[in-house]
């Protein structure tokens, strides 16, 4: 237990120093020169799989909900319900989970290998802080890219849902888009993207931390990769719950309760 707490404390300090280097990285051309390749690698690796995930999630939600909504004569509204679920909840969470596997594992493996081959020590020995040099650009790339990838998931989710809605079940396309537009607000999409940014931060920081603190050769690196994915996954779910609590409180204060159907 004390070990767990100590680990968490170390993780917090590590994260703090990575975050504190963010202005220096963003304010310097050399910082961008490190950030852009990371962002590019994350983006190109993840776009196809995220689009596929988004599309199928939209499709399956319509498939699941159709008979119930149709029986209640509410099938026109199904699109709105599906799209708000995707934009506010499933898009960010699934994009986060995909990234945790796709990107988090690769980051842990890369930094873990650098750790066990003393490359991190070599950086320190040259007077370069490895957190500044390696972690902050990767962390920032994750924070910037997760919301962007979530947008892809959201759009593909809406299109996939529409496809099944209109082509498979013969729903009314005009009604689908009309109710979607009415119900899904900027607020829902926006909070979804903010949540995604938090998930990205968690993925980047956890993956780098696990890489920096693994020991014991190739086996240690492998174990760190698995731990990194599991920890990111749990962090995403926990963060998601608490961010939802905060977001809902905020909405109630600002706009009062609302009904979706």
């Amino acid at each position: 237990m004390t070990d767990l707490l100590g680990n968490f404390g170390r993780f917090c300090l590590f994260s703090l120093s990575a975050v504190l280097y963010a202005p220096a990285t963003l304010g310097h051309p050399r910082g961008w020169a490190r950030l852009v390749p990371q962002a590019f690698a994350i983006g190109t690796k993840s776009v196809p799989v995220i689009m596929l995930t988004g599309a199928f999630v939209g499709m399956v939600l319509v498939e699941q909900g159709w008979s119930q909504f149709d029986a209640a004569n509410l099938s026109d509204r199904l699109g709105a319900i599906v799209n708000i679920s995707v934009a506010a909840e499933l898009g960010p969470v699934l994009a986060g989970v995909m990234l945790a596997g796709r990107v988090g594992g690769a980051l842990t493996a890369e930094l873990g290998t650098m750790n066990v081959t003393e490359q991190l020590l070599a950086l320190r020995a040259m007077g370069t802080d490895p957190v500044h040099y390696l972690v902050t650009p990767r962390f920032l790339a994750c924070v910037l890219l997760t919301p962007i990838l979530t947008c892809y998931a959201d759009v593909m989710g809406a299109l996939g849902a529409w496809l099944v809605f209109a082509a498979v079940h013969g729903g009314d396309s005009t009604a689908y888009w009309k109710y979607t537009q009415e119900v899904v607000q900027i607020w829902d999409v926006g909070t979804g993207l903010v949540k995604a940014a938090f998930f990205g931060a968690a993925i980047g920081l956890i993956a780098c931390y696990k890489g920096f603190h693994c020991r014991g050769g190739a086996q240690g690196v492998g174990r760190a990769c698995t731990e990194s994915f599991v920890a990111s996954f749990i962090a995403i779910l926990i963060l998601d719950y608490f961010l939802n609590v905060v977001v809902n409180q905020f909405y109630l204060q600002a706009y009062g309760p609302r009904s979706l159907i």
Partner: protein
């Protein structure tokens, strides 16, 4: 109390440094003073803590007890940020080279210069210095290769080039087995390089080695680390002909009887 007397001739000083990993005592109240502009050679059996000792000088490891001084200042309690100033004057050649495998050979060698001069010198100038350093270790023409595509000895030489490629050269260079894995001729070049840096640029060096020929050729002073302490200390001539049994056997490469026991018993 911990006042440091002005001894500018002692550039590095370890006072009573102890280091343990778990229950294993690696260094036990070790004292070491390195004279400015000298080459100090550290020998000793594998696993006695030579690499651990070197890492204490640049703060990659911190002592459990004792003090580390650099240029008359006590540094062992420096923060990582404060240590930066020390680390920018001291180069470190790692035993396993620690080349950055995401970069080419040329980028590896240029990296410390870019970090040190960040923008104050042109890319061209840095690239030229990197080429010169690679030439000194006989690695010209490998600039665009990746570390993963190099042989063991080639990696070592790139790591050496990375440590020396500054203009002027670093004040102090710490070499962890600079000639390990090199053929005798290349090893000779590296020995001469260490001497040249000393004579022409007054570089202070600490060399950890298992190579007795190298120890004899580069060392102004040779120390032998044994059982967490220094067992021998003197000029190469003195240490290499030492009468102390353990030193003599080590230098001559004769196994200790107890290490042979498991081989001979039937």
């Amino acid at each position: 109390m911990n006042e440091t007397r002005a001894q500018p001739d002692r550039i590095i000083e370890l006072r009573g440094v102890s280091k343990r990993f778990g229950s294993q005592v690696v260094l036990n109240r070790v004292d070491l003073a390195v004279q400015r502009g000298s080459v100090t050679v550290i020998i000793g059996r594998s696993g006695t803590g030579k690499s651990v000792l070197l890492k204490h000088i640049v703060g990659l490891l911190r002592p459990d007890e004792g003090e580390v001084h650099y240029e008359g200042r006590r540094v062992d309690q420096f923060s990582e940020r404060d240590f930066k100033a020390v680390r920018r004057e001291v180069s470190f050649v790692f035993q396993l080279n620690a080349l950055f495998d995401s970069m080419s050979v040329a980028e590896n060698v240029a990296f410390p210069m870019q970090e040190l001069w960040s923008g104050r010198r042109s890319r061209r100038e840095i690239a030229e210095l990197a080429d010169q350093a690679l030439e000194m270790v006989g690695m010209e023409g490998s600039q665009s290769k990746r570390p993963a595509d190099l042989s063991g000895g080639e990696k070592k030489r790139v790591a050496l080039a990375r440590a020396i490629a500054l203009d002027p050269p670093p004040k102090v260079i710490l070499y962890d087995e600079p000639t390990a894995g090199l053929d005798p001729q290349r090893a000779d070049v590296i020995n001469k390089l260490i001497r040249k840096l000393q004579h022409e640029y007054h570089v202070t060096s600490v060399v950890v080695t298992h190579d007795m020929k190298s120890a004899r050729e580069v060392g102004d002073r040779v120390l032998m680390l044994h059982d967490a302490r220094f067992l021998a200390d003197g000029t190469p001539e003195e240490v290499l002909v030492s009468k102390v049994d353990q030193v003599r056997r080590f230098v001559q490469g004769l196994a200790e009887p107890e290490d042979l026991a498991s081989l001979t018993e039937e």
